[in-house]
Amino acid sequence: MKRVLVNEPVCMGCHLCEVYCQLQHSKHEDMVKAFKREPSRPIARLRIEEKEPLFFPLGCQQCEEPYCVNACLTGAITKNSDTGVITTDEEKCIGCWTCILACPFGIIRQDLLRHKSIKCDLCQGLETPTCVANCPNEALTYTTIED
C-alpha cells in the first residue's frame, strides 16, 4: 500500500503542503480563486506539527485498524479494503466529532461551516497526493510500504 511518508529532517515547515492540499480540496483549480472566492478558506487535511527546529507534516496515517472508522456513528468513514485508504462520505457525516476524539494523531479536521469532519484521502484520483507533489524539499514521499 502506498502511504505518505515524512522525511522530517528536511521538512522546513514551509506549509506549502497545506496550501496545496487546500487547493486540491477546493472547487477551483486556480490558487487565488480557491482562496479568495470560496466562502471559507479550504481546509488542509494535513497539518505541519511544529516544535522548532522540528517540523512534521502530519496527515491521516491510514491506520491498519482505524479508530475513526470503528467510532464513526453513522458509517460515514470507511476504509477501502483494497487500497487501505480511509475516506469520509460527506453525505453521511453529521459532524458529531466522535472521530476527532477517536483519532490518536489529531489529524481529523472540523469543517465548522458545513459541520463535516474532513480528513486526508490521499488525493483519490491523483497519481501522487498533491502535498507530496508540491513539497519543495521532497520531505514528503509517496511510498509503497510493506503490510
Binding site: 528536511v10 515547515g13 506549509h15 487565488v32 482562496f35 479568495k36
Partner: protein
C-alpha cells in the same frame, strides 16, 4: 541611535494575488515579512529585506515582487549610495563593515575578454555526443620523464600519488560551520557521484561524511580545527590553507552562536566558544616552514596523498607558487580576487588581491619558465561562473578549477551577501537548525551533479569544436584563446594574442 540607512529593497505584494497563506512569513529568516494577527494580514518590513528572493520563490501565487528601493541620492560620481550608506553604518556602530560572498566591484573580468577558437575546414570539429571526448584529469606531481626498462618494458618510474577527476571541476573549500552539514552532504554526494573532489574547508569533517573520504580534500588551516590523524588519512588529498581570495592576509572568525553541538564535535572545540582562525599559520612564517608542514603531512599520511597548498592570488603569486612547488606541494590552489567567503571585512574583500586570470597566467608561465610546471598541478578558483570560464582557465594553464559560489548558487544561493549574518534564508550559510533543513542533501547532490553534468557536456562541446578529444590537449594551449578589449600588457601577461591577429 536613529539609523539613517534606508531599506535596500522593497517587497511589493499584489493584494489581488496574496492569499494570506503566510508562506513568505515563515520562509523569511530576516523578518521582513510578518503576519499582523489583529488585521489578519501579511505585511512587510522593507528595512529587513536582503533581496534573497526566498519569499518570492516560495509564494504559491507569485504575489510578491522584490524590487530595489527606487530611492535616489543626488547624482554624484564619487559618492555613490554604497559609499554613503557604509559611512552611516560605521558612524552608527563604530565597527568594521562585514560582508559575505566575493568581491562585487567592477574590476575587469578577464574571462569575458577571452574568446575560444573553433575548427573550420582544416580540421574537423568532433561531435562529442558520438565520438569519445575525454575530460579525465589526474592531479599530482608528475616526473620530468618516464623511465622504463628497454628490454622488458617494465616501468621504472614510480609516480607520486595521483588523483583522478572525471572532469576538471572541484568544489571549493567551505567549512562546516560556515555552511551547514547538509551542504557538506550535498557536496560530498555530488562529488562522489561525479568522480571529482569536494573540500572540507577548515572546519573538520563530520563523522557521517567519512564514507566520502575518497572524494574528499581535507583542509589544514591556521585554526587546525578537527585536524587529527584519522581526518588526514581518510582523505584523498590534504590541503594546507594559507589564504583565500576573499580575505587575503586575514584569518577567519566563526562566532560562537554558529558553533552548534555537531559543529563543536567536528571542529573539536567546546560549544559556545568562538572558533578563531589566526591570520597566518603559526608554524609557517617563511617558505621553508611551508616545506616543513608539507612533509609533516606527507609523513602523517605515509606519502599516499598529494599535498595541496592554497593561497590567495596576490601580487607576487608567481614567485610564491614557484616556492610552493619547490617546497613539495603536489597541488597549488590559487584563489582569486572574486573568491567568496562566509564573512570578511568588506574593505578587504573589495580591495585586496588580484584577478585570478592574471594570477593563473603568470603562475603557469613562471612555472614553465622554470621547467617545474609538471611538478605540481595547478588549480584555480574565485569567481568561476560557467563552463566557458572553466575551459578558458584550462586553456590558460589550469589543471582544474574549484567552484564555490557557483556550487552554492546551484543549491539555491541568491548571492544576497548575508552569509555573515548566519540567517541564510536558503539554509546554506547558517547553522540555525530550522534553516539548515532547507537544503535536502538528496536534492542538493542532484542539483550539483546536474550542474556538473551540464558543464561537462558543454566543455565537451567546446573541445569538440576545437577539434580536440582530450582535455590535456587544451590545457595550457593558449593558442586557442584570443583576447578582446585587452591592453598589450594584459594580453602579454595572459599570454594570448588579440582576436583578429
Amino acid at each position: 541611535m536613529k539609523t539613517y540607512v534606508p531599506p535596500k529593497f522593497m517587497i511589493i505584494r499584489d493584494p489581488a494575488r496574496c492569499i494570506q497563506c503566510q508562506i513568505c512569513v515563515n520562509q523569511c529568516s530576516f523578518d521582513a515579512n510578518y503576519y499582523d494577527i489583529e488585521d489578519s494580514e501579511v505585511r512587510n518590513r522593507d528595512e529587513n529585506c536582503v533581496g534573497c528572493h526566498r519569499c518570492m520563490t516560495f509564494c504559491p501565487t507569485r504575489a510578491i515582487t522584490i524590487t530595489k528601493n527606487p530611492l535616489e541620492y543626488r547624482e554624484n560620481y564619487n559618492w555613490r549610495s554604497e559609499d554613503i550608506e557604509d559611512i552611516w553604518k560605521q558612524a552608527e556602530s563604530g565597527g568594521v563593515l562585514l560582508t559575505g560572498m566575493g568581491n562585487d566591484k567592477g574590476y575587469p573580468i578577464y574571462w569575458d575578454h577571452l574568446l575560444l577558437n573553433a575548427s573550420q575546414v582544416t580540421n574537423p570539429s568532433i561531435d562529442p555526443l558520438r565520438e569519445p571526448m575525454e575530460l579525465v584529469t589526474y592531479l599530482g606531481k608528475k616526473p620530468d620523464r618516464v623511465r622504463i626498462d628497454r628490454d622488458s618494458f617494465d616501468l621504472e618510474t614510480e609516480l607520486a600519488p595521483q588523483v583522478k577527476l572525471n572532469l576538471p571541476v572541484m568544489f571549493s573549500a567551505m567549512s562546516y560551520g560556515a555552511v551547514s552539514l547538509n551542504v557538506h552532504k550535498s557536496l560530498a554526494q555530488a562529488a562522489t557521484e561525479m568522480g571529482i573532489l569536494w573540500n572540507t574547508g577548515e572546519g573538520g569533517l563530520h563523522h557521517s561524511l567519512y564514507k566520502y573520504g575518497n572524494n574528499t580534500i581535507v583542509q589544514v588551516a591556521s585554526g587546525r580545527f578537527g585536524v587529527h590523524a584519522q581526518y588526514l588519512n581518510v582523505a584523498r588529498v590534504v590541503e594546507i590553507k594559507i589564504g583565500q581570495g576573499a580575505k587575503p592576509g586575514i584569518g577567519g572568525h566563526l562566532p560562537a552562536e554558529k558553533v552548534t553541538a555537531e559543529v563543536a564535535l567536528t571542529r573539536m572545540i567546546p560549544r559556545g566558544t568562538d572558533a578563531l582562525s589566526p591570520a597566518p599559520q603559526h608554524d609557517i612564517y617563511s617558505i621553508e616552514d611551508l616545506a616543513q608542514l608539507v612533509y609533516a603531512l606527507k609523513e602523517a599520511t605515509n606519502y599516499t596523498k598529494p599535498i595541496s597548498v592554497k593561497i590567495a592570488a596576490v601580487h607576487n603569486s608567481a614567485a610564491i607558487a614557484s616556492g610552493m612547488v619547490r617546497a613539495g606541494a603536489d597541488i597549488i590552489v590559487l584563489d582569486g580576487l572574486r573568491g567568496a567567503t562566509g564573512a570578511a571585512p568588506k574593505v578587504i574583500r573589495d580591495n585586496v588581491g588580484i584577478p585570478i586570470e592574471l594570477a593563473l597566467a603568470s603562475v603557469d608561465t613562471r612555472l614553465r619558465q622554470e621547467g617545474i610546471r609538471n611538478q605540481a598541478s595547478l588549480v584555480i578558483s574565485g569567481g568561476i561562473r560557467n563552463s566557458g570560464d572553466v575551459i578558458k582557465a584550462i586553456a590558460l594553464g589550469a589543471d582544474a578549477v574549484n567552484i564555490g559560489t557557483a556550487a552554492l548558487i546551484a543549491l539555491g544561493c541568491h548571492v544576497c551577501q548575508q552569509c555573515h549574518t548566519g540567517k541564510c534564508a536558503w539554509g546554506i550559510c547558517t547553522s540555525n537548525l530550522s534553516l539548515t533543513k532547507r537544503i535536502n542533501p538528496e536534492i542538493g547532490a542532484r542539483r550539483l551533479s546536474n550542474l556538473l553534468r551540464g558543464w561537462s557536456l558543454e566543455i565537451k562541446d567546446m573541445l569538440g569544436g576545437l577539434g580536440i578529444n582530450a582535455l590535456e590537449s587544451l590545457r595550457g594551449n593558449r593558442l586557442h584563446l584570443r583576447g578582446v578589449g585587452l591592453t598589450d600588457t594584459e594580453a602579454e601577461i595572459l599570454g594570448v594574442r588579440m582576436a583578429g591577429s
